[in-house]
Symmetry: C2
Subunit: 246 residues, 2 copies
Amino acid sequence: MEPSASVTSKALGILAAFTAQQPQLTLSEIGRRAGLPLTTTHRLVGELTEWGALERDEAGRYRIGLRLWEVASLAPRGLGLRERALPFLEDLYEVTHENVQLAVRDGYEAVYVERITGRHAVSILSRVGGRLPLHATGVGQVLLAYAPAEFQDEVLALPLQSFTKYTVTDPKRLRSVLAEVRKTGIAVCDRLVDPDSLSVAAPIFAADGASEVVAALSVVVRSEGADRLGLAPAVRAAARGISRTR
Amino acid sequence: MEPSASVTSKALGILAAFTAQQPQLTLSEIGRRAGLPLTTTHRLVGELTEWGALERDEAGRYRIGLRLWEVASLAPRGLGLRERALPFLEDLYEVTHENVQLAVRDGYEAVYVERITGRHAVSILSRVGGRLPLHATGVGQVLLAYAPAEFQDEVLALPLQSFTKYTVTDPKRLRSVLAEVRKTGIAVCDRLVDPDSLSVAAPIFAADGASEVVAALSVVVRSEGADRLGLAPAVRAAARGISRTR
């Protein structure tokens, strides 16, 4: 971080030092990750802890605090959307007993804002608060298919990561996949990101009845023996139900 | 806010200006609520927005941003706990089709970190990211019953809010209620906070097998005709399942 960085950006850099892989950090780990001298780190971490943005555990390491989580739960694209969608996600979960997911687009990625899962569901890569690229997942393909054309062009011009031998990374082929998603209103992604899982996804439209897609939902099941045709109507019905709800 | 407040506390004050009642605010509303001059508000809101802690909507108002929500989702007492508990909460929801809740203690209040609810469940006061006092709810009474004795004394010395004619606000009576909760491992709260609802709650212990209670879960049903005895074993079993899971 450049020395002229503002105090606010330093404090935010401290928050960003925490990751899903390393949710608990010592003071010196925080300083190293945020690129800050130890004295600055010490002072800012103290202020963040006092407010409740960070908490200290028994071992003296720091973690993201409950108060920050409370404030952040007000993000309309996080919990707000989730509250609106939850009863429909529950219905879908009861029908399938598999992974039911809700995601929004942020930059070139899908951010998972909800996941309901059973103890016997197929295990998958995504987690709540996590991200995956748009081209390789059901929710991602839906979000990309309904995004503005210029945005699609940008994404198709990127180097697209291959996760399995089925991942579509060729821009031309991906373009025709997206056209199919728009035509059918459903994305079916078979083993594009996980070697074992199949995802069926549908768009959620803005509550004001506009044509803007604000989120996507999916059911992720084991690829082997998956009932693709049977899942699509349930996924579509749930997505429509959420789109109609304010 | 006093003029000598640090930049970090000013930035955090801006985040705290957002509430469940007012999740979207104009620049001048933010400044007023945070007690900051408009120029300072303008600069700090700009930095927070650039990082993604705030987002601007179409109408130009600000709201909590998705990036802050992502970082905050790493809070071990927020989503971390939730992930561990979710499959058991799902089971409980399927058995009851009512409100299933997960809460932790913070200060003198219970903070709700999860709620699963159906479209036909009785409507209740709590929301995810919301708080209620400890003495008046099922999860609150459990968290209080298993808290250190000195902490209980502190809470019992507070003026306790009455929500309905059934709310227990007398310290002596509340003490015997808490003793009963510890004895049975279950709190049953009938219309203590909502005039229509009954809550059955149980403690969740630390994953390391220690006696520390880290959270509480509850099922909230319509008070009239509620099957208290039938709910308790299911709630207890779910709480034990979570306590055993790492």
